[in-house]
Each structure stands twice: as C-alpha cells, then as structure tokens.
C-alpha cells in the first residue's frame, strides 16, 4: 500500500491552504499561523515502488507547481506542525478514487489497484488538541460521511 501526498512547491501560492487558514480565523479560534493543504491518495495493489513513483509524478502531481511524497507505511506526524487527515467513511462514494483507477490504467499500469482519496491539512502554529478538534469537526470534516485523524 502506498500513501501519496501532494504538496504545493515552495514559491507557489497554496490558495487552498490559505483559504482554510482564513476559514479557521472565521471560526474564532486562535493559534494557527499557516496551513498547508495536501491531497492524499492511498493506493492498494500489487504495484512496485517504481510504478507508484510514475503514478505520483505523471498523474497525481503537477510537474510545475507540485511535489509529492510517497510512503509505504503510515507516517508519523512532523514535529513542527499538527496534521488533520480527512477520509471518507466506508461505503461513501469516493468519485475521485474511481477516476484515479481509470487514469492509472490509461497510464499503462495494468495491475488491479484500489484507491482511496483523502485530504491532509498541515496546521502550523500553536493549536491545542481541543482547537484542532474544533477545526476538524466544524470546518474540515463532516462526521456523517467523513472521519478525521489528528496527528
């Protein structure tokens, strides 16, 4: 299983991250100074590291503005920030995942893969667990269809 995260490269505006930051301010909570937004693709299947690299570089990330990170096992959080990871609950239609499966086939990877998509938010600054829960629950995830993890 590969977890592929896509980041906006330094020097380019992460407008989606900035939007979340301003929405956090709208919630009336304090402490967050910066938000990095990272789409997350979890790819399950009998594919090699090289194939995962190809999928990440050719398909999932933009060559000009984005970079990616691949890990084959769940990551531990980075030290300077907190991470909120949002995934759809089981049984909820994940339309992007269906498109990614098609695109991987178009790319020439013929092995069967299962895909799950999610979103990661790297929250910089000084946010307590309570605040992060509030950000996740009131802004980033709807508990009815999504679940979130704070790392």
């Amino acid at each position: 299983m590969f977890e592929i995260e896509i980041f906006t490269k330094n020097g380019f505006k992460d407008s989606r991250g900035e939007h979340v930051l301003s929405a956090i301010a709208g919630l009336g909570v304090k402490g967050a100074t910066k938000v990095d937004y990272a789409p997350l693709y979890i790819i399950d299947g009998d594919i090699s590291q090289t194939e995962a690299m190809t999928i990440a570089s050719e398909l999932l990330s933009d060559k000009i503005t984005e970079k990616f990170e691949i890990s084959s096992k769940p990551q531990s959080g980075k030290s300077k920030n907190s991470v909120i990871e949002v995934l759809y609950k089981k049984g909820v239609t994940d339309t992007v995942a269906e498109s990614v499966v098609k695109a991987i086939k178009d790319l020439g990877v013929t092995k069967e893969v299962k895909v799950k998509t999610g979103r990661k938010y790297y929250i910089y600054g000084n946010c307590s667990r309570v605040v992060l829960d509030k950000i996740a629950g009131k802004l980033l995830a709807n508990a009815l269809v999504q679940e979130y993890k704070i790392k």
């Binding site: 339309t95 990614v100 695109a103």
Partner: protein, 261 residues
C-alpha cells in the same frame, strides 16, 4: 468551395461542445462532436479533419486536477496522432478545460517537445470565477504573432471566463522570456483601456496576466476565456458587438476557418 471540417473531441464531462460546434458552423465550417472512444478505436480518423478543437467542461470531473485525466488518456492513447496533426500546421484550439488539457499533455507551448512545461493552477481566489474579462491583444501580437486564431481583433476585447484553475504558470523565467519574444502570449487580462488589472479583472492571478498562448508556429492556440460564448452581440452583458450582430469570439473561429480555406 472547400468545406472546412472540424472535429470537436468530447469525453465524460465535456460540456461546451455544442456551443463550440455552433461557433464553427456559424463561420461556415462543418463540425462533428466525436467521443474519444471513437478516436481511439479508429486512430487515423482525426486526419480526416482540418481543425481540431478541445472544448471546455470538466473532463472526468477535473478529478486530481483540471484536464489531467484526459491529458493523460490522450497522451497515452492518441499522443502520436495528435502531435502529428499539430506539427502539420493544422489549426488546433483548446478552450478552458481544453486549454488545460493541451498544457498538461504538452501540446502547448511546444508541440515538438510534447512535454508539460507550464500549467494552469488554482485561482488565487480559490474560487470558481464566472465573469467577463477585458483581454489585451497587444498591437505587437496583431502585427507580428504567427497566431492564426487571433488576427483582425482590436486592441482590447471582452470575453467571459468561467474556471477554478486558470492561473498560468510557466516552468521557468526562460520559457516566459521565450513566449514573450516569439509573441506567443496572445491574450492577457487587462483593464478596459489595456492597463494592468487587479482582481477581479485579473480573475486568477496568472503570471504576466496570461490568458491565452499559442505555439511558435501559431496554429495551436489555448485560452481560458470562452470565445464560443461570445459569437453574437446578444451574448454580451451590454449587447455590444460588431456589425450590429456578432461578438469578438466569432472572429477567432472565423480566422481558423479562413486559414484552412
């Protein structure tokens, strides 16, 4: 007289195909909307046509990123034919989602290279923006650019834009300089009198307000604004147009049809 044949490529999520067809027909061409499956099945079909159009829409829902999945599919399944079509100097246009597809498969700005060297990224506002914009078609462009699509236009025109990912970014300063030098930047967002705009007149934050570019040869053209939505004066918010009846977008299509003739 020769009937100019246009192919409008569509797939799941294409949605500006009918008005693009109507625009070409208005200019005297025939225009056929064809599903990508039919082109993959019959790979040489595209060579039966004079003009190739990639219309706007949300191909495959713009999942992953706008135009990405269709660009990936075309490049891997039809890439060599599309490249050949472009290198033969036949007119190719990509509007909005079509522009995103052209850039992401690399047919623009350099079809010989056929690699992605520029992109259209999320609008600075992080919002989908549907509004009209002023576009500067620089004097230099009119006189010197090779672009066959943008001839005979006045200095500043208006066209509608409707996109969430339209911020043009080249891979580096060298490419930007080249695009400028070759007069490949044919449309820039501007103020009413051609000045440098701010949001919302600059709807997405594009580098150097770039709204549309062509290849050096001038036959492949991509732009975020929608010329097919302004072929009649009636479509303009204040009903402005030329000859009392038409919109500036019509000239874009007419140029290509006349070029083939």
């Amino acid at each position: 007289m020769k009937k100019v044949k246009t192919l409008i490529l569509r797939t799941a999520g294409t949605n500006c195909d009918y008005e693009t067809q109507a625009a070409f027909e208005l200019c005297g061409a025939t225009a056929e909307r064809a599903h990508i499956n039919s082109l993959i099945e019959n790979k040489n079909k595209i060579f039966e046509y004079d003009i190739l159009a990639f219309p706007g829409g949300f191909s495959y829902g713009d999942d992953i990123a706008s135009g990405k999945i269709l660009a990936n599919e075309i490049k891997n399944k039809l890439g060599d034919r599309i490249k050949k079509f472009a290198l033969r100097g036949k007119p190719v246009i990509g509007v909005c989602n079509g522009f995103q597809v052209l850039l992401k498969m690399g047919l623009l700005p350099d079809p010989k290279l056929f690699e992605q060297i520029s992109t259209l990224y999320y609008n600075d506002s992080d919002k989908f923006e549907c509004r009209w914009a002023y576009l500067k078609t620089e004097k230099k462009v009119k006189n010197e650019s090779n672009c066959i699509w943008t001839k005979n236009l006045p200095d500043v025109i208006t066209l509608p834009v409707a996109h969430g990912e339209g911020k043009f970014i080249p891979i580096n300063a060298k490419l930007l300089e080249e695009l400028n030098r070759n007069n490949q930047i044919v449309f820039r967002y501007s103020t009413k009198d051609g000045g440098t705009p701010e949001y919302p007149l600059a709807p997405n934050g594009s580098v150097e307000q770039i709204a549309g570019i062509c290849n050096a040869q001038g036959n492949v053209f991509g732009l975020m604004p929608h010329p097919e939505r302004y072929v009649f004066a009636l479509q303009h918010p204040a009903r402005e147009g030329f000859d009392g009846e038409y919109g500036w977008g019509k000239i874009v299509f007419q140029n290509a049809v006349d070029f083939v003739k």
